[in-house]
């Protein structure tokens, strides 16, 4: 039996509120609670609830003969929890039928696969956790944001342990090949690929109500005739679409619900097709060939590329500035920071900055809260500026510096003077420690007396220690510490301390000279992107120095 494979994308972003520059540093709530709730409620009532019920009825009627698959982003599940628990419940009911496969994707519907393997992994595992928690399934099929795919992304997904991945059957990669077979990744052939049949998918998703289209009105009979006409050796018709197609993009008046309601009956009566999920297909079918996709593709627009999200300088700038923060965020345990970081990565924010369509971007205007791509960019950057301030605020290394910056903003003058005094004392402390680098240890001790935060030096570790770790600096003598940082390459130091324990950071950085501290802060402010290998190398250098001193 040939197969029809339905996959529905369910996603809503946490839309950002109008966030002016004067909110920076003053207001840390970024999301348009009202709008997000309103839109979620509206779509829940128009699409999610009625369509879920319809599918549930079909499954009740046809049993395991009718199957579909869903991919729910983590943000949409978060929104169900907050604004529409009834929808979440109805998804749980669907899951319980055993006829619905839930796919893995990124938590935020993000573009992390293009930027950072580590973040990509993190995002996927937090979405999978939600799927497991609510739907009691361990996904084996993966679909990336907007069906974005390339050879290397596929390989990374295979490494995460997924057996199947969905993507677009884009003309320019398929050539003469048909999307109606199972394919595999060109780097790791173990990863099977299911490709969207974009003509038939879009007949339902986009053209269903278009009266100018020669296929209109689309009946189930007509549709089944079309798929019957497809060469009998072609195995699967993959119908991938946004779930909002039902009831939101295509209104109930267009007959879209009736179409879905009668489709299974027509398929069973008039064709040799059945309904399968991606995981089943990947078991059932043999891959025909490898697909070569050196440059990422997606299911968006005519071009099927990434230009809707990363096509202009604004998008690239915002995207890069956001991901420059990755290491800093990872070392900030604060819950709210972690959550905001996730929500800010949602691809929709970059979609709103698209300048490809100035006048007729109907699809792009869908629930777009901004009047122009520039407003979207400015708003995002205002929020990102605040996010950076919060991050640095929480990063103890720079606390002194941050306080100095913030001081003039304090409202009461009493507080202000108090704060700046503290700041001054601290900088004074730094100055003296800097001097200590060249002079005597006495001043350094004085400085540490003024600064209670510094861990007092305990006895030197026995030189017999074989393995040296960064934690050893906590027990090092002040003199050794000053020696340690003397003439050190600051970039190396910066890299080595990325991800290091805060206490370790503190004890090293408080021993930096004044100029050294300045350049260190500069590096810090630049948010230099650092790779794992950089960190490793730098740590080796630093550890070698520590070892030498301890010996």
């Amino acid at each position: 039996m040939r197969s029809i494979c339905f996959y529905f994308q369910v996603h809503q972003p946490f839309r950002l509120k109008t966030y002016r520059f004067f909110d920076i540093g003053a207001n840390h709530f970024y999301f348009d609670e009202y709008r997000n709730r309103y839109i979620m409620r509206r779509i829940a009532d128009k699409c999610y609830l009625p369509m879920n019920n319809l599918l549930l009825d079909l499954i009740k009627e046809y049993g395991s003969a009718f199957k579909v698959s869903f991919s729910l982003s983590g943000t949409v599940i978060d929104q169900f929890e907050r604004y529409a628990p009834d929808v979440l419940e109805s998804y749980i009911k669907l899951a319980e039928t055993g006829c619905v496969e839930f796919l893995a994707e990124t938590f935020s519907h993000s573009l992390s696969s293009l930027k950072s393997d580590e973040e990509f992994n993190r995002q996927v595992s937090s979405q999978v956790e939600l799927v497991k928690r609510y739907f009691k399934q361990e996904p084996t099929t993966f679909r990336n944001t907007e069906l974005i795919y390339s050879d290397t992304i596929g390989a990374a997904v295979a490494n995460m342990g997924y057996r199947t991945m969905l993507t677009e059957g884009a003309k320019h990669i398929m050539g003469w090949k048909s999307p109606n077979y199972l394919y595999c990744n060109s780097i790791n052939p173990k990863l099977k690929l299911l490709l969207k049949n974009f003509r038939l998918s879009d007949d339902i998703a986009f053209r269903f109500s278009q009266q100018s289209w020669n296929g209109w009105p689309l009946t189930t009979e007509k549709f089944v005739n079309w798929i019957q006409e497809i060469d009998s050796d072609q195995e699967t018709i993959n119908l991938f679409m946004d779930y909002e197609t039902f009831g939101e993009h295509q209104w109930p008046e267009t007959g879209i619900f009736e179409f879905m309601k009668t489709l299974p009956a027509t398929v069973f009566a008039r064709s040799n097709y059945g309904f399968y999920t991606p995981a089943e297909l990947s078991e059932k079918l043999q891959p025909r060939a490898a697909i070569y996709v050196p440059n990422p593709i997606s299911w968006a627009d005519e071009e099927r590329d990434l230009t809707a999200w990363l096509g202009n300088d604004l998008q690239n700038d915002a995207f890069n500035k956001l991901y420059d923060l990755e290491y800093l965020v990872k070392n900030t345990p604060d819950q709210q920071i972690q959550l905001d970081w996730k929500y800010l990565q949602t691809s929709d924010h970059f979609y709103y900055m698209c300048t490809k369509w100035f006048s007729d971007g109907d699809v792009h205007k869908y629930f777009n809260p901004f009047n122009s791509p520039y407003e979207a960019y400015i708003n995002f950057m205002n929020i990102l500026s605040d996010f950076i301030i919060r991050l640095k605020d929480m990063h103890p290394v720079n606390r002194v510096e941050v306080q100095e910056q913030q001081a003039p903003r304090e409202k009461t003058t009493i507080k202000k003077t108090a704060k700046t005094k503290v700041a001054r004392v601290k900088t004074a402390a730094k100055k003296t420690t800097g001097a200590a680098g060249v002079k005597k240890t006495k001043t350094a001790d004085k400085a540490s007396a003024a600064k209670t935060v510094v861990t007092p030096a305990t006895k030197t570790k026995s030189s017999g220690t074989t393995k040296v770790t960064l934690k050893d600096v906590l027990t090092m003598k002040k003199t050794d510490l000053t020696k340690l940082v003397k003439d050190i390459d600051l970039k190396t130091l910066y890299c080595a301390l990325v991800g290091a324990d805060n206490k370790v950071k503190k004890s090293i950085i408080t021993h930096l000279g004044k100029l050294q501290l300045k350049s260190y802060n500069k590096l810090f402010a630049e948010n230099l992107p650092v790779s794992d290998s950089d960190v490793e190398k730098a740590q080796k250098v630093l550890l070698a120095r520590i070892k030498q001193l301890l010996a």
Partner: protein, 429 residues
């Protein structure tokens, strides 16, 4: 095709946007194969020219030695009529200006070019009389010339256009460069409104410089939408002289307002937005260039807000000073309350300055690489300014594409749309 055009001032005596527009579109029409009989009111007395200069800040320079320009003169029939009519002037101002001229003087003059017309008569005692007198002269003139269509620019020439239509029976096209509502807000001069309305009602077609103006024409004058066509203005392209190098003496970023400091231009919103930006970021200087009846109020407001160390008034700028001001600017703001078109943002963009413009301007309909805000939305204006100053990708993008965008606004294509309108009215009759 030959058009009898009642236009405005011509180079070298160009004082404002209207003259520039007439010049540009006439040139474009000639390129599109349309012959032009150009009739202008010509006033004598340099004080008057100066007076006008003071009112219009956006002074566009044109290279008069340019060969194209001389070619152009050869093709054009240019007729001047002794008259004190000046664009953009209300009745009271007109009286003030003409008071210095001796009344009852008889004028006889010849144009510098081959065609010569002499006309003797008295200048009218007030603006309305002068408009009527100009119409009379124009109509006699119309009787002696051959043409296919009449084109009149702004209300002062509408009576002349109407008279010419009556005498010749040829179709009339009137061109709305600005409405009385743009000039006066809601406190309109009824006489002017009536002339505008009558002109548009009698006309076979109305051309507006933007959809913004088209809406006003349809909604506030009740003109039949079927005969109102929008033809956006274009810009003259400066050739060469962009080598002007300016040394910046202040390290702060500069945000500029340049234009008449009058109600229509929205200077008060600029001041309020400046306050919001300066509250957050002291590394910015705001400049208000120009003069006008709201200048003193603006100075007072800046003092009240306590931002005078970062907010500067230059007074009226012209010519090279304007170019220099643009070169010193990081952001140009045009917060106009009601702007039929608005050419100054285009000049700023041509000088590589990113712009923030109000949605209540015609120019916002043709620009993509500009931030558009409602003139009253001070928060949005401040945010746009701050964004352009702080998030480099935006200003880089605007600089990269803005200049090109402006250079693609050509008079030739605007004029071909006007020619289409001519064709429509000629073949309708």
């Amino acid at each position: 095709m030959k058009v009898l055009m009642f236009g405005w001032e011509f180079p070298p005596h160009i004082t404002g946007g209207l003259g520039t527009a007439c010049f540009g579109l006439t040139k474009g029409l000639l390129k599109n194969g349309v012959e032009v009989l150009f009739v202008v009111p010509k006033s004598y007395g340099d004080e008057d020219q100066q007076a006008v200069r003071l009112i219009n800040a956006s002074d566009v320079r044109i290279d008069f030695t340019n060969k194209m320009y001389q070619e152009y003169w050869k093709q054009l029939t240019y007729i001047e009529i002794g008259s004190n009519l000046i664009p953009y002037v209300g009745e009271e101002e007109f009286q003030k200006m003409t008071a210095v001229n001796t009344i009852d003087k008889t004028e006889e003059h010849s144009s510098v070019f081959s065609q010569q017309y002499t006309f003797s008569g008295k200048y009218g005692k007030n603006l309305m009389e002068e408009v009527t007198r100009y119409a009379l002269v124009a109509s006699t003139l119309a009787g002696s010339q051959q043409f296919d269509v009449i084109h009149a620019h702004d209300w002062l020439t509408y009576p002349a256009g109407i008279a010419a239509k009556k005498i010749s029976g040829k179709p009339l096209v009137v061109h709305m460069h600005a409405t009385e509502f743009d000039r006066s807000g809601d406190h309109i001069n009824q006489n002017v409104y009536d002339i505008e309305r009558k002109g548009m009602e009698i006309a076979d077609a109305v051309i507006t410089v933007s959809n913004f103006t088209r809406d006003i024409v349809i909604n506030k004058y009740g003109i039949n939408p079927d005969k109102v066509f929008t033809v956006h203005n274009a810009v003259e392209h400066n050739t060469g002289d962009s080598d002007l190098v300016i040394e910046r003496n202040v390290k702060e970023k500069v945000v500029t307002f340049l234009g008449r400091i009058t109600f229509q231009k929205g200077p008060d919103y600029f001041v309020e937005a400046a306050k919001r930006v300066l509250d957050k970021d002291k590394n910015v200087r705001f400049v208000m260039a120009g003069s006008g009846d709201m200048l003193n109020r603006m100075i007072l407001r800046v003092a009240q807000l306590g931002i005078s160390t970062h907010f500067h008034f230059t007074g009226f700028l012209q010519g090279a000073e304007v170019d220099k001001m643009f070169l010193l600017s990081d952001v140009y703001v045009m917060p106009s309350v009601s702007e039929p078109f608005g050419i100054s943002p285009l000049e700023a963009m041509r000088s590589n300055v990113p712009v923030v413009i109000s949605k209540q301007s015609g120019v916002s309909e043709v620009l993509k690489y500009a931030l558009k805000i409602d003139f009253w939305d001070i928060d949005a204006m401040a945010d746009a300014i701050y964004g352009l100053l702080h998030y480099d990708a935006l200003s880089v993008m605007f600089r990269k594409y803005g200049k090109e965008e402006v250079e693609n606004l050509k008079w030739e294509s605007a004029s071909s749309k006007i020619r289409d309108v001519y064709n429509k009215v000629i073949f309708k009759n």
